[in-house]
Symmetry: C2
Subunit: 208 residues, 2 copies
Amino acid sequence: MKREKVSTAVIRRLPRYYRNLEELSEAGTVRISSKALSSAMGITASQIRQDLSCFGEFGLQGYGYNVESLRREIGEILGVNRGHRAILLGAGNLGRALMENFHFQSCGFLLEAAFDVSPALIGQTLAGVPVLDVAGLEEYLAAHRTDVAVLTVPGPVAQELARRLAQAGVGGIWNFTNIELAVPATTAVENVHFADSLLTLSYMILKG
Amino acid sequence: MKREKVSTAVIRRLPRYYRNLEELSEAGTVRISSKALSSAMGITASQIRQDLSCFGEFGLQGYGYNVESLRREIGEILGVNRGHRAILLGAGNLGRALMENFHFQSCGFLLEAAFDVSPALIGQTLAGVPVLDVAGLEEYLAAHRTDVAVLTVPGPVAQELARRLAQAGVGGIWNFTNIELAVPATTAVENVHFADSLLTLSYMILKG
């Protein structure tokens, strides 16, 4: 697979393809033309063909795409079948909202533990996930392969925790803090910047 | 201002410019070369010049940018000084996390009310914001100009609430549900798709 050559913009569209194909598959759609997929997703058919061509040959001229097989192939590209293991740092409101409502498993992740500093939370089980003392983070990471850490801690402690996670070899940080984390390139960071999103909406409502 | 011609990609970079300029301004930086701004943001200097040229003339050859004035102008473009008014629907964990930790005001929004269906929450004040009965939504909207509604409700009720918000003339929906909302073009929708973000991270950690 030609992973190295794929642009960020293409990569960011892959989850949307995956999500839409999942919905089509659940709705019982067996095959779809590139035109119909295009109008369902609001992406031009030629853009879809171009995006998918980064990863190989998909679809057949005159037939379109087999929904379930394309879903499975894109899932493979995204790594949803790798059995990724995740932990969550910071079991406050946002952390708990993710633990209780976000389907880690449908993204291919198993959320195995949460960490916090609060004695009231440590030792509890939230949404089936044990809450551990963040003081034991390194010990836990040495014993449990961990691919991704979800960072839902207060801003002031985010950078130091990111450093500890990277040092312990955690491959990715899903960063919900508004801090731009500085970590070695061996640890990937995906930011959920709420403020950027709301400011984009702020711009959009001015246009109207 | 040439708003209509600006691409989504440029618009999505504006909040990042704004955030970085805010940090530079707070750190006391008075002016910055396009090269230094470029390396601080990980965007090429020519991309920055091209992005900003969509909105007018900024910066001076040989001087660079005045940080505070550029921050103010981009803030103006984004509408941070318009006194936008927001409400929040769904005061569960995620809603409360936003109410307690997200700085609506630094994005130029005033969060004026939250709505929920739970009798245990209605009548309470959370993070200084009154929680009202969602049954009274239309009555509230008729009496209070509302620019944006933050949607942090369970998926199954999202579409119906979006319809009610659009019908009442709310200009934008900040959608935290995993539902693709169908609303008239007069209501802008900005999605925070957690799953897309985690799947992108899933891809990134496979690359390494």
